[in-house]
C-alpha cells in the first residue's frame, strides 16, 4: 500500500470540474510533481491533500486512513503535513527563529528540543546567521529557505509545495531547485510538488504527474516522460517537439513525402487502425549537407526556411521537399546554414514516438 493514495478524486467549483477524477499513489519517501499549465487543477489537488478544500467525489487516504471524502474532511491541522506556499506565508510579525520553531511549539516539544532542532534546520538551509532577523529584512531567496526550514523541521508525514519558486528570479530559481532536491535526499520526506515549470519538475522529482484539464495525462519518471510521452499534450508540454501525421500501410508508416518502417518507431505496439500521430524531437533530426551514405537511413531532402541563433544551439525551420510540413530542427552552434539552403534531413527512428 502506498503512503498517500488519491482515488477518483474530483472537485467541482460551480459547474467547472477543477479536478476531474484523478488516481495517484505515492510511495513512502517519494517525490512526485504535479506538472501542468495554470488552471489544470494541480493546486486544487494539492489543497485537497492539505485539507483546505473538501473533495466533491473520491477520497484521499494516508497510511490506509481516509483523510478526505465528500462525507468528512479531517481539518488541515490534524494531518501532520506541512506545506510551502506560493507566497511563502512567512509570518512577518515573527523572527526567523520564531517562524521555524512555531510548528514545534504547537507540538508541545520541550524548549530545549525546540531550540536544538530549530538551530539544526537553520544550519541545514544556511540561515543560521540570520536567525534573529524579521522576514521584512530578508531577500526572496532567504524567505524561501525559511519557509523550507519551517516546513521540514516538524518532520511532516507529507510535505506539500505549491509553486514555491515562481516568485524568485531565474538564477535563484535554478539554485533552489537543487536545494529542494538536496533536502529531499537528506530527509526523505514524502513530497508532492506543484509546478508549471517542467525543468523544475524534472530536476526535483522521482516521478512527474502531468495534468491537463483536471485529469492526469501521464505519470512517469522524467526520462520516460520526455522520451516516451503517451499523449499529444504530454509530448507538447514536456520539451519541444514536431507532430507528424502518418498512415499505416503494411509494415511502413507513410508520412507526407516519405515512409519509415513501423517497427523502428517507439511504442508502435500502441498503434491501431486509426490516424497516427508521431512526435519527433527537434534534436533527433540531423541536418546534413549531402545525402547520407548508408542505405538504411531514413533521409529526405529539404530546404532551410528560417534560422535563429540561441547560443547553445541553432534553431532551424526546414521544409522537406515536396511536402507542406514545417519541421523544427536544432543543430550544434558550429553548424551554420542559410535560409534557402538545400539540406538533407536524417531521422533517428528510435527517437520517433507514436502517440496514437
Amino acid at each position: 500500500m502506498g503512503k498517500l493514495v488519491l482515488s477518483n478524486l474530483r472537485r467541482r467549483f460551480g459547474s467547472v470540474a477543477a479536478v476531474d477524477g484523478i488516481d495517484l499513489t505515492l510511495q513512502e519517501g517519494e517525490f512526485v510533481s504535479l506538472l501542468g499549465p495554470s488552471g489544470c487543477g494541480k493546486t486544487t489537488t494539492l489543497r485537497m491533500i492539505a485539507g483546505f478544500i473538501p473533495p466533491t467525489d473520491g477520497s484521499i487516504s494516508m497510511d490506509g486512513e481516509v483523510l478526505s471524502s465528500p462525507q468528512a474532511v479531517l481539518p488541515p491541522e490534524r494531518r501532520r503535513m506541512s506545506m510551502i506556499f506560493q507566497s511563502y506565508a512567512i509570518w512577518p510579525n515573527m523572527t526567523v527563529t520564531q517562524n521555524v520553531s512555531f510548528g514545534l511549539k504547537l507540538r508541545k516539544l520541550p524548549d530545549a528540543e525546540v531550540r536544538r532542532r530549530t538551530g539544526e534546520i537553520l544550519e541545514v538551509v544556511q540561515m543560521g546567521h540570520l536567525a534573529g532577523r524579521y522576514p521584512g529584512e530578508l531577500s526572496g531567496g532567504q524567505q524561501q529557505r525559511v519557509a523550507l526550514a519551517r516546513a521540514i523541521v516538524v518532520q511532516p508525514s507529507i510535505l506539500l509545495l505549491d509553486e514555491p519558486l515562481s516568485n524568485l528570479d531565474a538564477n535563484l530559481r535554478e539554485e533552489m531547485r537543487f536545494e529542494i532536491r538536496r533536502l529531499h535526499d537528506e530527509f526523505r520526506i514524502t513530497t508532492v510538488y506543484v509546478t508549471h515549470d517542467q525543468a523544475e519538475a524534472m530536476v526535483t522529482s522521482d516521478r512527474i504527474a502531468v495534468m491537463n484539464a483536471g485529469k492526469i495525462e501521464q505519470v512517469d519518471d522524467p526520462f520516460s516522460l520526455y522520451n516516451r510521452p503517451r499523449t499529444r499534450f504530454v509530448a507538447g508540454f514536456i520539451g519541444r517537439t514536431n507532430f507528424l501525421e502518418a498512415r499505416l500501410a503494411g509494415d511502413r508508416l507513410t508520412l507526407d513525402g516519405f515512409t519509415i518502417p513501423v517497427g523502428m518507431v517507439q511504442r508502435s505496439a500502441a498503434l491501431n487502425g486509426g490516424p497516427i500521430l508521431l512526435s519527433v524531437r527537434p534534436q533527433s533530426i540531423a541536418l546534413l549537407r549531402s545525402r547520407p551514405q548508408d542505405e538504411d537511413a531514413v533521409a529526405l531532402p529539404a530546404q532551410v526556411l528560417e534560422c535563429a541563433y540561441l547560443g547553445e544551439y541553432w534553431d532551424y525551420v526546414v521544409v522537406p521537399q515536396g511536402s507542406g510540413l514545417k519541421l523544427r530542427v536544432t543543430a550544434a552552434p558550429t553548424q551554420r546554414h542559410q535560409p534557402g539552403e538545400a539540406v538533407w534531413l536524417r531521422f533517428d527512428p528510435s527517437q520517433i514516438v507514436a502517440i496514437s
Binding site: I53, Q71, A72, P76, F85, G103, L106
Partner: protein
C-alpha cells in the same frame, strides 16, 4: 485558481465503510453561531432604525394608522419646501467653492515643483481635523457684521465705521464657511488621482507640441475630472447632511435648510413622524448621488491603469507660477485654519473678545468656569470620552469580525453582512438619528436619554469607516499566512491569535482612533438623541452658541480642539502621518 478555504463539512448521512471514525472528527466551526449573532446586532443597529424610519413616516402618531398626512405636513408649507431648495443650493455652492480652493492645491502638490508642498498638505490635514462647527465659531468672530475682526479692519481701512466687507450670516457666508472645512475631500480625491497619472501621458502630449498649460488642461485634468466630480458629489452630500454649521450660522441668519428644519420638528411638541417624512428626500438624494459617484469612479478605471510603471516627474513651474500657487495655498491656509483658530483661541482666553490681544484682556476664567463651575461642561467632557471610546471599540470589534468572515468566505452570504455594515454610509447621520429615535426612543426599549442610545447611534454611524479599515487590513493578510499555521497543526483560533491579530494591530489602532476622533465631534445624530444626562461637548457647544456667550463657547471649542489634536498626534506618532487622510 480558486483558493477558497471552505471549512464547512456537510452532514454525513449514509456512512461509507471506513469513514465512520472520521465522522467523529467532524469539525464544525463556531462561525455559524457568530454569524447569526452578528446578523442580529446589525439588524438592531442598522436595519431596524431604517425600517422604523420608513414605517413612522407613513403612520399617524398615537393611532398608528397608515397615512400620507405626514408627507403632506412635511411639504405643505412653502417654508419647508424652501428649506429643501436652500439645502440643495447650499450644497452646490459650497461644493463649487471647495473645488476652486482644492483643485489648484492638489495639482500643485501632486504634479509640480511648487515649494512648500508639505505645508500645503499640512494645511489640508489641519482643515480636516478641525471640527466643522469650530470653524464656524471662528468665522463668527472673524466676519460677524460690524464687530468681526475682518469687518473692523475693513472699517478702519475705508474710514467708515460699521461697514461690512464680508458678512458670515449670509448664504454665501454659510457656504464659504462650510467649504473651508470640506475642501480636503476634493483635495484628497484629486491628488490621489493625479498621483496615478504617469508623466509619460504628459510627455506624449508634449512631444506632439503641447505646452505645459495645454497639456494640463487637455490631458491631465480630463484624466482626473471624474474623480474631481466624485469629490464634488461627496462635498455636496456632506453639506446637505451637515447640522452644526447651518445651525450656528444659518439659524441666526434665518437661512432654513433641511437639517435645521428637521431639528425644528423635534422641538416640543416633537413631531418625529413629520421629521421622518421630511428626511426622505435627503435619503433618496444621497442614495442616488452615491450611486452616480460609484459609476463615475468605476468608469474611469483607466486612471489607475496609467499608474503602472513609468516614472513621475514634477512639472517645472516658472518663478511666477511657483509663488502664485504657493500664495494660493497660504491664502487657503489662512482662511481655513490660521485665522479662525487664532480668533477662537484669542476669544477663549479673553475677558471680552472684542477688546483684542492686549495683556489685560487675558484670562483663563473661561476655561476655569467651564471645567469647575459650569453644571454640565465637565460631564460633557466625560461623556464625550466615554461614548466615543465605547463606540469606537464596538464598531471596530463588529467590523473586524465581519471583515474576517467576509474576506475568508467562511459563510455563504457573508456579503450580506458587509452590505449591512456599509449601509450607514449612504444614510445621512441626521436621518439615521431620526430612525434611532423612531425605533428605540419609545417603548418597548425606551432608550431615550440613555447613554446606550448615544453609543448605539455613534457605533452605527461610524461602522462603515471601521469596516473599511478592518477590511483593508484583512485584505493585506494573505490567506496563506493562516493556512501556514493550520497545516503546521494550529486551529483557526491559534491562527487568529498568533498571526492575524498581531498583523492587524496597526490597522486596528488606526481605525479605532479615526472613529474615536470622529465620534468626539459628532453632533448631527447626538443632537436628536441627547438627554439631560448624556450631553456631549458638541451638544453643549451648540447650546452655548444659542446663549451667545462667545468666550465660553470658544473655550469649550478650545477643549475639543485640544482633545482632537492630542488623539491625532497619538495616531500620527503610532501609525503615520496619513492615517486620517486616506481616500477610502
Amino acid at each position: 485558481m480558486s483558493t477558497t478555504t471552505i471549512a464547512r463539512v456537510p452532514a454525513a448521512p449514509a456512512a461509507t465503510p471506513g469513514i465512520g471514525a472520521l465522522r467523529r472528527l467532524r469539525y464544525l466551526e463556531p462561525v455559524m453561531l457568530i454569524w447569526l449573532l452578528l446578523i442580529g446586532v446589525l439588524v438592531f443597529l442598522v436595519a431596524w432604525p431604517i425600517v422604523e424610519l420608513l414605517i413612522t413616516s407613513f403612520q399617524a402618531p398615537r393611532t398608528g394608522a397608515w397615512t400620507l398626512n405626514n408627507y403632506l405636513a412635511a411639504y405643505g408649507r412653502t417654508r419647508y419646501v424652501d428649506a429643501l431648495i436652500n439645502s440643495l443650493a447650499l450644497g452646490a455652492l459650497s461644493a463649487l467653492i471647495c473645488a476652486v480652493l482644492a483643485v489648484p492645491m492638489a495639482w500643485a502638490c501632486s504634479r509640480t515643483d511648487m515649494p512648500g508642498r508639505g505645508f500645503a498638505w499640512f494645511t489640508v490635514l489641519a482643515a480636516f481635523i478641525i471640527p466643522p462647527y469650530l470653524g464656524a465659531v471662528g468665522w463668527i468672530l472673524l466676519a460677524g457684521p460690524n464687530s468681526g475682526w475682518i469687518n473692523q479692519a475693513w472699517s478702519l481701512l475705508i474710514g467708515t465705521p460699521d461697514s461690512t466687507l464680508f458678512n458670515v450670516y449670509s448664504f454665501t457666508g454659510l457656504a464659504t464657511v462650510i467649504a473651508l472645512h470640506s475642501y480636503p475631500f476634493i483635495f484628497i480625491f484629486t491628488k490621489s488621482a493625479l498621483d496615478l497619472v504617469n508623466s509619460e501621458m504628459e510627455d506624449a502630449a508634449n512631444i506632439l507640441g503641447a505646452g505645459t498649460w495645454t497639456t494640463t488642461w487637455k490631458v491631465t485634468l480630463p484624466l482626473v475630472w471624474p474623480t474631481i466630480l466624485a469629490g464634488i458629489i461627496l462635498v455636496f452630500l456632506e453639506t446637505i447632511a451637515l447640522f452644526g454649521t447651518p445651525a450656528i450660522i444659518g439659524i441666526p441668519a434665518r437661512i432654513n435648510v433641511v437639517t435645521t428644519q428637521l431639528w425644528q420638528f423635534f422641538e416640543a411638541p416633537v413631531r418625529a413622524e413629520v421629521a421622518a417624512a421630511f428626511a426622505m428626500p435627503l435619503l433618496l438624494i444621497t442614495l442616488a448621488l452615491i450611486g452616480l459617484q460609484k459609476l463615475l469612479l468605476a468608469r474611469k478605471s483607466y486612471v489607475s491603469q496609467t499608474g503602472k510603471g513609468g516614472e513621475r516627474r514634477p512639472i517645472k513651474l516658472g518663478p511666477f507660477w511657483r509663488w502664485a500657487l504657493l500664495g494660493w495655498c497660504v491664502f487657503v491656509c489662512l482662511l481655513s485654519v490660521v485665522a479662525p483658530m487664532v480668533a477662537l483661541v484669542q476669544a477663549s482666553f479673553a475677558k471680552a473678545w472684542g477688546r483684542g490681544f492686549s495683556i489685560d484682556n487675558l484670562t483663563i476664567e473661561n476655561y476655569a468656569f467651564l471645567l469647575f463651575r459650569h453644571d454640565a461642561a465637565w460631564g460633557a467632557v466625560v461623556n464625550t470620552f466615554a461614548f466615543s471610546a465605547i463606540s469606537a471599540t464596538l464598531a471596530m470589534v463588529l467590523a473586524l469580525a465581519i471583515a474576517y468572515i467576509v474576506k475568508r468566505k467562511l459563510m455563504p452570504f457573508g456579503t450580506a453582512l458587509a452590505f449591512l455594515c456599509m449601509a450607514p454610509f449612504v444614510i445621512p447621520g441626521i436621518v439615521m438619528a431620526i430612525g434611532f429615535y423612531a425605533a428605540y426612543a419609545g417603548p418597548p426599549l425606551t432608550l431615550y436619554g440613555t447613554a446606550a442610545l448615544m453609543v448605539f447611534a455613534f457605533t452605527t454611524r461610524f461602522l462603515p469607516i471601521a469596516y473599511a479599515n478592518g477590511a483593508s487590513g484583512m485584505q493585506m493578510i494573505h490567506p496563506e499566512m493562516e493556512e501556514a499555521v493550520r497545516i503546521l497543526g494550529g486551529g483557526r483560533l491559534t491562527a487568529i491569535r498568533s498571526v492575524v491579530a498581531p498583523l492587524l494591530k496597526k490597522a486596528l489602532l488606526g481605525g479605532w482612533l479615526l472613529v474615536f476622533i470622529l465620534a468626539t465631534r459628532e453632533l448631527s445624530a447626538a443632537i436628536f438623541l441627547v438627554g439631560p444626562e448624556t450631553r456631549t461637548i458638541s451638544v453643549l457647544l451648540y447650546d452655548l452658541s444659542e446663549e451667545g456667550n462667545l468666550e465660553s463657547l470658544s473655550a469649550l471649542g478650545g477643549i475639543l480642539l485640544v482633545i482632537t489634536l492630542l488623539f491625532v498626534g497619538i495616531g500620527m506618532k503610532l501609525i503615520g502621518r496619513d492615517f486620517m487622510l486616506r481616500r477610502e
